[in-house]
Each structure stands twice: as C-alpha cells, then as structure tokens.
Amino acid sequence: MKQRTAILTACAISVTLLLGVMAAASAQTPPPPTTPSSLPPAPKPITKTVATGDNFFKPKKLTITVGSTVKWKNTGRSLHNVVPNKGKAFGVARLSPGKSYKYTFTSPGKFKYYCSFHGAPNTGQHGTIIVNG
C-alpha cells in the first residue's frame, strides 16, 4: 500500500509539473501556426484483449480507436459467448475455454455486449467497447 501511495504521489507531482510547464509555455509564446506536419500522429490501430473469464469480461469497459481489433479470449473453464446488445455486427455464438474471437471495429461508437450464458444486456456478464474516431 505504501508503494502504491508513493507511486500515486510521484504521478501527481509529475502531472502537476507537466501542467505547470505547459501553462508557462502557453503564456509566454503565441501558439505556432497549425500545419499538417505539426499535427500529432493519429493513434495506431492495435489489438487489445478482453479476458473472458468465469463469469466476467476484463476490462469491462474498453476504449479503442477506429481500426483497432478486440480479441476476446476465454480464460475460464466454462463456455462463454459474445452477443451485442443491438444488431449482429460482431459476436461469437460459442467461445470454448482457451479459444479466442477477434473483431476489428471500423466505425466509432459505443458497443455494448454480453455473454448470453451468464448475462443479459447490461446485467450479469456484460461489457462495453468504446470506439473513438
């Protein structure tokens, strides 16, 4: 616990210092003209894993960028599945222990889902993928 407190304190100090430096820089110099070359690079699409355990999704809420892939891996010993609350854009009817299912999200939005064996929309074993554009 002490170590966690120390880490949190260090993080808070770092963030405070960083914000202070940014504020000072902002006050002293006018912002440079925006050119395409100075825009921050778009986040790279990546693959993130949702552990599909007995009976939970971890993380329960996952935020990704458009083009990223989510991999649901059954880390439990029971059969699970992935069923979207609405529509059938993604999902898998049966995900046996040890098996994985992947889906690449190509449009932004909030995608809620559940395991129909052990949950229902918004209750029991359920989760959310937030896809930012």
């Binding site: 355990g53 007995d54 880390t75 010993r77 059969l79 129909s116 064996f117 229902a120 209750t123």
Partner: protein, 436 residues
C-alpha cells in the same frame, strides 16, 4: 426530472385503474395482481410472462406441464417466488436449444428470488442459475442433463439450496462460486451422475454443506481454488454429516477438472481452513477424504495467469471413511513434500492413509510431526492418471428417479421470498455421521 417521472407514474396508475374498472382488463386485476399469486398458464401463458408481470412478494404458481422456454428474472423482479405445483410434472425443457437467451432454465439477476418444486432439464448451460444477487433459494428442485451445472449460484451471497437433486451435468450438480463471505447452506440435497457432485470455486466463509448425499459422480464434493474466477483462494467451508459414496463413475459427462477428480469422495483442492467432519465416505478408487493442492500452473505451464494453490489449515475430524484406496490423504504443496501446511486429521475411523499414520503425523491441536512427508510421485501419478473420457451429456443414460419428494402443500403454501437466507437452521455441532 424525478417529479415529472412521479407525475407520469401517478397518471399512468390512475389510467390503468380506470381501464381496469370498465373493461375486460378488469379480469386481469382480479385474477392475480391483488392476491399476489400469478398462475401459469391461467393468468399468464408462460413462466417468463408471469415473471415480467410480477412485483416484489408475488408467488408465481406453475401448473404441471412441459414448458419449452428459458426464463430470465431481471433485476427489477426481486423478492418473488416461482413454484411448480408438482416437482416431477412441472418441467422446463430446454431441448438443447442454442439461441442466445435459451441456454439456462432459470437465469436470475434479481435479489431475493426463490425457486421451488419444479424440474429444469436439457439446457445447454445450467438448470438453475443465480448470479450477482443478495438472497437466493432453490428448494425441491430437480436439475437433469444440463450442459454445465445443475443448480448454481455465482457471485451471490445469503443463499440456500435444499431438498434438491441434480444429475447429468458435466461440471457440478451443485455449485456455489466466487463469494466471500458466502453465507450459504447446501442441505438435504442429492447429486449423482455429474462430473462433480458439488463444486465450490473460490467460495469462502460461512458456507455449510450438510446432511446431503453425493454418489456415483466422477468426484463427490470438491471445494477448490482457481484463478479463472475472482476471490481465490477458497476457504472456511464446513462439510458435515454427508453421505459420500462410490464417486468413481467413468460413464458420466465430465469437464477436464472433473475427470481429474474421478475416484475421490471429498477433495479439498487448493483450499484453506475448511472443516470436514462426521461424514460417511466409502468406496472410492482413489481417496475417501483428500486435502491436496490445485497446481493449475503445473497442469498448464503455458498460461502465465495460472497459480499453484496450496491446501493449508484444513481440519479433517471424526469422519468414518472406509473401502477407499486411501481413506485419508494429505499433501499441502506441489513443490514441498515436507510442508505439513497446518492441516490436521483426528478422530477419524479409517484403515488406509497417504502418508501412512496420517493422524500421528498431522494431529489436531498440536504441532505436526517432523517425520511428515507426502509422496509427490504418488500424487503426480494420480493427477496424471488416465481417466475414461467424458461422455456426451446429451446422450448419457441417467437414472430414472420417481422417489424425489414433493414440496408439501405446494398449491397453498405461503410465499417466502429469499430475503432471510439461509432459512433452514442447521446445528452443525449436533450433526452426526450418517447411518450406513
């Protein structure tokens, strides 16, 4: 916003009352809403319709018949009782359907729901399933040939399973998982022809399994720790006064961990501080009562998320255990044969043990003997012993049971939602070894 909602509710209520007083809908009010009893199929055609129409305190009384439906009890329908008029003849049949929403006989997300006196069979997941609830009870239930568990409470507290029966599940007939403190009671139940009679993964504290019968499963009673669920390790169960016999049944369906448990009566697998007392345990091809580690990582070294769970501080006292290959057995940790782990054995009636002289080596109330050493090679041999492969749970020929007791006065008994469970009071200290 709240005021608007209340005003809308008031208007809606008045409207409903007016409609009810003048038209055919008045029959709806008279037929069940007022007395708190909803009859299926007279008042509502299906059990699900009745649940959806229920309010807290209601009794849903289901007439004999075969109902080809799966029932979900949503969070809003708390404190209801669902009761069959006949345990043997009020049957939910899943017909092994696989569409989402059809997998469980009953899937309960609401607190305080009791289900009584009916049968759930042929569901691809569970017969009866409570999850994430505070308050649950399953009484006089029969679960047959369901693809995962028979009667199951997960991530739930303050519950009871009583006078119920489960057969034909590849995992456990009865299962309570991921709770601490569970405050739960399993009493007067029977499980046969399952992978395990009872399994309790990461279910700890104030959990009593008593006065029940577990026989002809692959394994009998197995409290255990696993990393696949939260709240590991398991601990502090009381297993008392049960009759556990002949759990060597290689003809059942079984998941892999149940296959490993074949031939064991009561197996504390990677659990801590459990009390196993005054049980009658006979006729097992491996151990009668075993206290062993659950070496997940050893079984699957490629998965970095797994742990090897030790078994520590368990007490095995005053049981009668005979006719097993090893009547009693103890091994604390997979990596240290000499670690006694503060497990203790005393007052048991037995003949064989592993190691030999187990009560002298691991006595209760005094330090373990420095001579204690388990046989790791023997344990590994048992662990990796080839077992008969799982049968298809849909096809296993199960015993036909016509002797399971009906709930008394099922048609007229008052509804008692599961708001004060466990409601059966068991004096653990008064329970003796069952008669043969």
């Amino acid at each position: 916003m709240l005021a608007t909602k209340r005003a809308f509710t008031a208007i809606a209520t008045v409207t409903v009352l007016l409609v009810a007083s003048v038209g055919p809908a008045s029959a709806n009010v008279a037929r069940g809403a007022d007395d708190g009893i909803i009859n299926v199929p007279d008042d509502e055609a299906t059990v699900q319709d009745a649940v959806d129409a229920s309010k807290p305190g209601d009794l849903i009384l289901v007439a004999p018949g075969i109902y080809r439906e799966a029932v979900t009890v949503g969070e809003k329908h708390e404190n209801i009782v669902i009761r069959g008029e006949s345990r043997a003849e009020t049957i939910l049949d899943g017909e092994f359907r696989e569409e989402p929403g059809t997998e469980n006989g009953f899937k309960v997300f609401a607190d305080g729901v009791a289900i009584e006196n009916l049968t759930a069979r042929n569901f691809i997941t569970n017969g009866f399933f409570w999850t994430g609830v505070d308050g649950y009870r399953g009484s006089y239930l029969t679960a047959i040939r369901n693809g995962d568990y028979g009667i199951y409470a997960f991530d739930s507290v303050n519950g009871q399973f009583d006078h119920s029966y489960a057969s034909g599940s590849p995992d456990a007939g009865f299962y309570i998982g991921q709770c601490r403190p569970c405050n739960a009671l399993v009493v007067d139940v029977e499980a046969e022809w399952n992978g395990l009679g009872y399994s309790g993964t990461n279910a700890s504290r104030k959990l009593v399994i008593a006065r029940s019968t577990f026989h002809d499963n692959r394994g009998g009673i197995a409290p255990n720790s696993l990393s696949g669920e939260y709240l590991a390790p398991q601990g502090n169960n009381t297993i008392v006064g049960n009759h556990v016999y002949d759990n060597n049944n290689g003809a059942t369906a079984a998941i892999s961990i149940a296959e490993l448990a074949t031939g064991n009566g009561i197996l504390v697998a990677g659990g801590n501080a459990n009390r196993v007392e005054r049980n009658l345990v006979t006729g097992h091809t491996t151990t009668g009562i075993g206290v062993i580690p659950l070496p997940e990582r050893l079984l699957d070294p490629d998965d970095p998320g797994l742990e090897n769970f030790d078994a520590r501080e368990n007490q095995v006292r005053d049981n009668v255990t005979e006719g097993n290959l090893y009547d009693l057995a103890s091994l604390t940790a997979i990596d240290d044969a000499a670690d006694a782990g503060d497990n203790c054995f005393a007052g048991n009636t037995f003949t064989t043990s592993e190691p030999v002289g187990i009560e002298q080596l691991l006595p209760c109330g005094e330090p373990s003997s420095p001579d204690y050493a388990a046989d790791l090679g023997k344990f590994a041999g048992i662990l990796f012993m080839e077992q008969p492969p799982s049968a298809d749970y849909k096809l296993v020929a199960l015993p036909e049971r016509t002797d399971l007791p009906e709930m008394r006065k099922a048609r007229t008994a008052k509804a008692h939602p599961a708001t004060n469970e466990p409601s059966i009071r068991v004096r653990v200290s008064a329970l003796g070894v069952p008669a043969r």
